[in-house]
């Protein structure tokens, strides 16, 4: 390991001669018990401490979800009068769900559709732009590329929250505040997604393949859509998931930009229902806030389950040199 002069390689072998060759021999000779003790990447060493710690982390992340599911089955009174991690006598889940959709003239449905709009157009658009940009930066040489690199890396470091107030002032000059555009336009930009696609495209698309396509007479547009895009699919899904989660959970930007509850996404809407409990004469609807939150979480979980196989292969791309 330390080079040819290392004592490890020069020391007399402690293992029988056949074992030195990396062939099949040692595997054949090793008894089963020993094989199970060997720590390979596929079968890492078990550690009680690590297992317990992982278990704790698992509990820590699952208990709130469990609480959410259980609480969504309770009425407002049951919520106040029973232990949080177990069901109260009355099972009101279906009731709660229908009340959530009908309360306040059914505004919840409107918020749900708004969120879908922001996610489909915002996150979808952000992903598309990131894929285009990442591909261009990875595969084309043009002046100013290093400057673009610096800008993108710098942009990754600035949290969107810090830009929300300046963006508000700019958008209000343009008369865009209190319209869905104020949420959509900033959502379209994802520096991290661009960077990820850039790195991914560098690894995933062999330049030779693009050249072959060009020689065959394909236009650049066609090369992108028919050659590059399928190869980029795992990375695209990863970026899509990231931007989707970010847009779905976005709170601060809409909070600043939107005043009209008709354009609220779910996050803001649920928050306004929650705030009702804290005003004179307001109606505390904690059970609806909780049920609404549960309904809000479901599409994200569904998206993860549906897209996870692409996502997993995407995460590993480029990590091993073939």
């Amino acid at each position: 390991m330390n080079g040819p002069s290392s004592p490890v390689t020069t020391a007399p072998p402690t293992v029988p001669a056949p074992a030195r060759s990396p062939g099949a021999a040692p595997r054949l000779r090793t008894p089963r018990v020993r094989a199970s003790r060997r720590h390979t990447a596929g079968r890492p060493r078990r550690s009680v401490l690590l297992t317990v710690l992982t278990g704790l982390v698992l509990l820590y992340s699952l208990v709130p979800l469990l609480w959410l599911v259980i609480s969504a089955t309770k009425t407002q009174e049951g919520l106040a009068g029973s232990f949080g991690l177990w069901f109260s006598g009355d099972f009101a889940l279906w009731d709660n769900i229908s009340t959530t959709f009908t309360y306040d003239d059914g505004v919840f449905t409107r918020w749900f559709l708004n969120t879908l709009l922001y996610v489909v157009v915002g996150a979808g658009g952000a992903t598309f732009l990131a894929v285009l940009g990442g591909y261009a930066l990875a595969k084309f040489a043009f002046p100013g590329k290093r400057a673009v690199f610096a800008v993108v890396i710098g942009a990754v470091a600035v949290p969107g929250t810090a830009l929300a107030v300046p963006t508000f002032l700019m958008f209000s000059k343009m008369g865009l505040t209190d319209t869905p555009w104020a949420v959509l336009i900033p959502s379209l930009i994802s520096p991290f997604g661009l960077y990820l696609m850039w790195v991914f495209a560098t690894e995933a698309i062999p330049t030779e393949l693009m050249e072959a396509a060009r020689i065959d007479g394909a236009s650049e547009v066609r090369t992108f859509f028919q050659v590059a895009l399928p190869l980029l699919a795992p990375g695209t899904v990863t970026v899509l998931l990231f931007t989707m989660v970010a847009t779905w959970n976005n709170y601060f930007l809409p909070l600043i930009m939107l005043k009209d509850p008709d354009w609220y996404p779910l996050t803001l809407g649920l928050d306004s229902w929650n705030a009702q409990a804290a005003t004179a004469g307001g109606d505390p609807v904690f059970h609806l806030v909780i049920t609404g939150s549960l309904i809000t979480v479901v599409p994200l979980i569904a998206a993860f389950l549906l897209l996870q196989k692409y996502w997993q292969s995407g995460l590993a791309a480029g990590s091993v040199k073939e």
Partner: protein
């Protein structure tokens, strides 16, 4: 999020300071040029002509008022928007004012927050619309809050004369007498916690609104405000009376530390964990909708006194409707505000559970004889109306009270979580408020 709020508020302060510079330390009477008298004929004409009025408010009873108003004036379209609750709305409003875009025609502003808008003249003086003639129709606390010099900067929407809400069932069970003074309140707290270690006389985790209200009642006047000259001092006799009593409650662990307005808090009212709540008269509606399981257990009593036999009360909460200077359609906006807060809308709002600020309604037989099923049939409005009449009218909030309240928990609120004495905590609140005021261009004396 708190970081950002603070940054925004700092921005507000800056705007305030700039505006102050521009108006050369306000209060002068040279702004008569822009102010023309608006007669009721002008308002009627505007109502006939119609148009759009955009209202930012979170008060739930306004929904019905808007429907009624639109039915009466078909040409007028009132758009009621809940742009967030208290602090969120003020941030939004200040943002809109800074950007000069998207400013509503009418905005709900709580009494404690009015000062900052009135001082920077970002809300309209309603006196030329005839609001100055309404002085007699409002109870003293709220009217004093909307008026500044000769100007009337909003119309009072509701009020919060304080009362002591208590759980009669718990009091009866432990044979505790309803306290009439804060000393008796302390005794009651001890007795209750001793006989049931899980029960507390009240919950307090440090609430600027409650502290200022109790100081108000105790006769303390920490804030002196004269235009841009501000004085802050928490060392007078009233403040000492408050800190001494409250310090004992904190030291002996007689107050629960449950955050207000959470589901835990509502739950604690229902199961007897919290036995009393000294707060504004608007609370019954919240009890009725949030603590259904304890219906019939609770009652309202006069607020305990600092000196036996006295009859002094204070306001807690309450808000007004103001007309932002940058809003449009001033005549129509005023017509709506007048309808909601002084005219027919008041009755509608009372029916929906709001607590009025108008003396006529406070004193009316029908109002005082209303029986509250939630309070076991008690005519609670009698208690509240008496409290409203006993509110001292010389209380002043800071012109930047929204900011001051936002730092309460970092300063005075420490008394609730660490061993810092409450009096020291108030001193550091004072210091922080003085520092901020000076930074914003106020001349502040300690």
């Amino acid at each position: 999020m708190p970081q950002n709020t603070r940054r925004l508020l700092r921005g507000i302060g800056l705007v305030c300071a700039l505006a102050l510079g521009a108006t050369a330390c306000g209060g002068s009477d040279d702004d008569g040029s822009g102010q023309k008298q608006v007669s009721s004929a002008d308002i009627d004409a505007a109502l006939k002509k119609g148009g759009k009025v955009k209202v930012w408010a979170w008060e739930p009873t306004l929904k019905k008022v808007v429907t009624d108003f639109e039915r009466e004036h078909p040409a007028v379209d009132v758009e009621l928007v809940n742009a967030g609750t208290n602090k969120d709305q003020y941030t939004a409003l200040q943002n809109a004012i800074s950007a000069k875009k998207g400013v509503p025609d009418v905005a709900q502003v709580e009494y404690y927050a009015l000062g900052q808008y009135a001082l920077t003249k970002s809300i309209t003086d309603l006196a030329p619309f005839g609001a100055d003639k309404l002085a007699k129709s409002y109870s003293p606390g709220p009217w004093n809050a909307v008026k500044s010099g000769d100007g009337v900067y909003a119309l009072p929407m509701d009020s919060g004369p304080m009362a002591l809400f208590y759980n009669k069932k718990v009091f009866d069970k432990h044979k505790i007498k309803v306290p009439t003074t804060w000393d008796e309140y302390l005794q009651a707290a001890r007795k209750l916690h001793k006989s049931d270690p899980k029960a507390y006389i009240t919950s307090d985790t440090g609430d600027a609104g409650l502290t200022t209200s109790l100081l108000w009642q105790a006769g303390s006047r920490p804030y002196k405000v004269d235009g841009t000259k501000v004085g802050i001092d928490f060392s007078d006799k009233g403040a000492r009376a408050y800190t001494e009593t409250w310090q004992k409650l904190i030291d002996e662990k007689l107050v629960a530390s449950i955050n207000p307005w959470t589901d835990e808090w509502y739950k604690a009212f229902g199961d007897g964990t919290i036995a009393t709540l000294p707060t504004g008269a608007w609370m019954p509606a919240n009890f009725a909708s949030g603590v259904k399981e304890a219906s019939g257990d609770w009652r309202a009593a006069p607020l305990p006194q600092w000196t036996a036999g006295a009859k002094v009360s204070a306001e807690n909460g309450g808000s007004s409707l103001a007309l932002p200077e940058l809003g449009k359609n001033k005549e129509l906006a005023y017509a709506f505000v007048e309808y909601a807060n002084s005219g027919k809308g008041v009755q509608t709002r009372i029916k929906e559970g709001a607590f009025p600020a108008t003396t006529k309604d406070l004193e009316s037989k029908a109002f005082q004889n209303t029986e509250f099923p939630y309070f076991g049939g008690q005519k609670a409005n009698k208690v509240f109306a008496e409290s409203a009449a006993n509110v001292a009218d010389d209380w002043k909030y800071l012109p930047y009270q929204v900011y001051a309240n936002s730092i309460f928990n970092d300063t005075a609120g420490k008394a609730y979580v660490s061993g810092t004495p409450l009096s020291k905590g108030l001193k550091s609140w004072q210091d922080a408020s003085v520092k901020y005021g000076s930074e914003q261009g106020f001349s502040v004396q300690k």
